[in-house]
Symmetry: C2
Subunit: 397 residues, 2 copies
């Protein structure tokens, strides 16, 4: 074979990259099931909702689908950035928090995970700032592009809070903030977020604020980065109906890019519009109608009922862990419990131990980053019966 300067190559970052953690866990679960087909599994590792959808919500979606049967109401390609009826409802939700959004600052998408990874297309020479541990797709997507990454450890010493004080002010960054954090549940308060916003505005950095778990927040922590003064000059917010409304299967999310966010005199909003019109074809009408319904008063009551169920799971889980002297982070703002492994085992060793000894599935902390070593993530999204069965098997040593 030839080799010239015009030779297309594969992106070698893909070769170096390990498997996605949840793919790895599924594989281990399948292996276990194959070996022990009759043994029960209690899945407390799940980062996915498990409550069935309310019939009223499904009926709304079905009604919207019926419009596809008639020539007069049939819809083809959805608008790339979403239907105005949904954007209007989202803008109204934000207005109630004192945040004014224009409709063209809201981009409806098919998943927060898609947007938070694809947005890298807009930038070059990125230095990403990422909490350690956190949601693996931030680091993975940057690694797959060969970007420079700074991992900020979240430890007991810093109360599991990521803050800008260790970063140089002589460069700019793409800063990933997940608050409440997945997996630790640690939530940044107003002052924490203000220090990030001020830092980003000073250094011309951009904050990617992932508030996937905002509907679990119980205290006064901001649910949106745009509650923070001057955030509209430096932040992008990535939100989802997945966890708040049980939409993980239906796929609907939204990203907010204020028109006031410019870099090198270019509006990032306009760049993303161009991106979505080329790389994306919109979200189905009936799904957006469903998402719209979840923002009505009736829909909000339905969502809250589900969240209350998961919150009760969380309470049961924490009470039992406490009784058994487990050390864990006590945030009530998230569906997850970040648990210190009580015996001398690594995260993956303890994962295997829990699975093969008790049939309990967790997520090994090291899957969220090196600083997660020595921890596991347990999830209140598990089924109530699984939580009760698993906690009966405590102390898991």
């Amino acid at each position: 074979m030839f080799l010239t300067e015009f030779t297309m190559k594969i992106n070698e970052n893909y070769v170096l990259q390990k498997n996605y953690i949840f793919t790895e866990i599924s594989k281990k679960m399948l292996d276990f099931k194959a070996k022990y087909p009759t043994r029960k599994i209690y899945n407390l590792g799940i980062g996915d909702v498990t409550r069935p959808m309310d019939k009223r919500l499904v009926d709304k979606i079905k009604k919207a689908l019926d419009e596809q049967i008639h020539s007069r109401t049939f819809k083809g390609y959805p608008p790339e950035t979403g239907y105005d009826f949904l954007k209007t409802a989202i803008a109204k939700k934000y207005a109630l928090r004192g945040i004014k959004l224009d409709l063209d600052e809201i981009f409806i998408s098919n998943g927060a995970g898609c947007d938070v990874t694809n947005i890298l297309n807009l930038f070059s020479d990125v230095t990403a700032v990422i909490a350690n541990p956190t949601y693996p797709a931030y680091l993975d997507s940057n690694n797959l592009r060969g970007n420079n990454c700074i991992l900020l450890p979240l430890t007991k010493k810093n109360q599991y809070k990521m803050l800008p004080n260790t970063l140089s002010e002589n460069q700019n960054y793409l800063i990933y903030i997940c608050s409440p954090n997945n997996p630790t549940g640690a939530t940044l308060n107003y002052d924490d977020l203000l220090s990030w916003v001020n830092f980003a505005n000073r250094t011309k950095s951009i904050i990617l604020f992932d508030n996937a778990y905002e509907s679990f927040i119980e205290d006064k922590s901001p649910k949106s980065i745009f509650e923070v003064k001057n955030a509209k000059y430096c932040a992008i917010e990535i939100s989802s109906f997945s966890k708040s409304a049980g939409f993980t299967n239906l796929r609907c999310s939204y990203t907010i890019i204020p028109k006031t966010l410019t870099r090198q005199n270019i509006k990032i909003n306009k760049m993303w519009l161009r991106h979505q019109c080329t790389f994306f074809n919109g979200v189905p009408y009936h799904i957006q109608k469903g998402a719209f319904f979840t923002l009505t008063d009736e829909g909000q009551r339905i969502c809250q009922k589900n969240i209350n169920y998961y919150k009760k799971n969380l309470k049961i889980l924490k009470n039992c862990l406490k009784k058994n002297n487990f050390e864990f982070l006590s945030s009530n703002n998230s569906p997850y419990v970040w648990v210190k492994i009580p015996i001398s085992k690594s995260s993956w060793e303890y994962f295997d131990f829990l699975l093969y000894t008790y049939g309990i599935v967790c997520v090994p902390g090291s899957g969220f980053g090196e600083s997660g070593e020595g921890y596991i993530r347990l999830s209140a999204f598990a089924k109530r019966c699984d939580i009760i069965s698993a906690t009966k098997l405590l102390p898991w040593v």
Copy 2:
């Protein structure tokens, strides 16, 4: 402000890029409607299906949605590469054409447009080979990444066929083949495709084969690149339910990457799996159930009925154009007619002329590339009444 070697920059390719052509057309239509709110518009520019969905198909989708109401059948995150029931049906469709596919060679996605653009993430130092004119997203997505592009003009002289004979054998390429071509309708036959496959295997190039319009093919042209000998060593196929089953709003497509396609000893299939697990979260269950139904015998009859309707539109349109001595490409394998502008006007000038004189919307040929200048694309996806009204206004000069 500082400037260091670690400064994140915006991707300036986005700044240089013009608006997406269909965004531009929508804008012009809105301007027209604002000026002349009472005038009729006959939209023959539409690249989108317009026929309502069959009630039987919608009922299947609704039935699948009902599973979300019950704890026992509720589904969370869909598998990133799709449910096996749909992959199995697709594999069966290919088996009937003599093509053997493993299920993990099929990736279900939410749009052919998404896959054909995002796949660029897997490669570096790309030289893209793109027909001119063709579907604008191929060129746009490469421009937005700053890739090198070679545009191969499709002209009357080469029968609007893109062939490899003018390309150097001393490098490799990412080759975009849309057959039947959008917008010209020109279709590559077995020998044409074999010459591409042989060229790609010789030069270690990769073919991206977009067969969005395969269900319109009437002659013996291959409907899949994998009908061609040795294509499984050099080709990726990007397929969709959009045009065959009227799914443009519902969003479902699939991409086939044979495990035999390797470059630098790496399976491209494995790279795409890694990509989809990080950048994508799958297609909803009920949508995949709908797509599955369209592949059953009953579903296929429903799809064919819609295609026949559009084919009849095509016939009416072509007969009228012929009577009025228009020059156009006579392929019956596509829903589009590629029409030479009969008067001395550029594509965009003729677009404005048709809109403001007759209320007719077309797509200016130059929107598909420079070689499309002097042409317009008319679409059989238009409503029958629009086609009849518009053709009554001929000769459009």
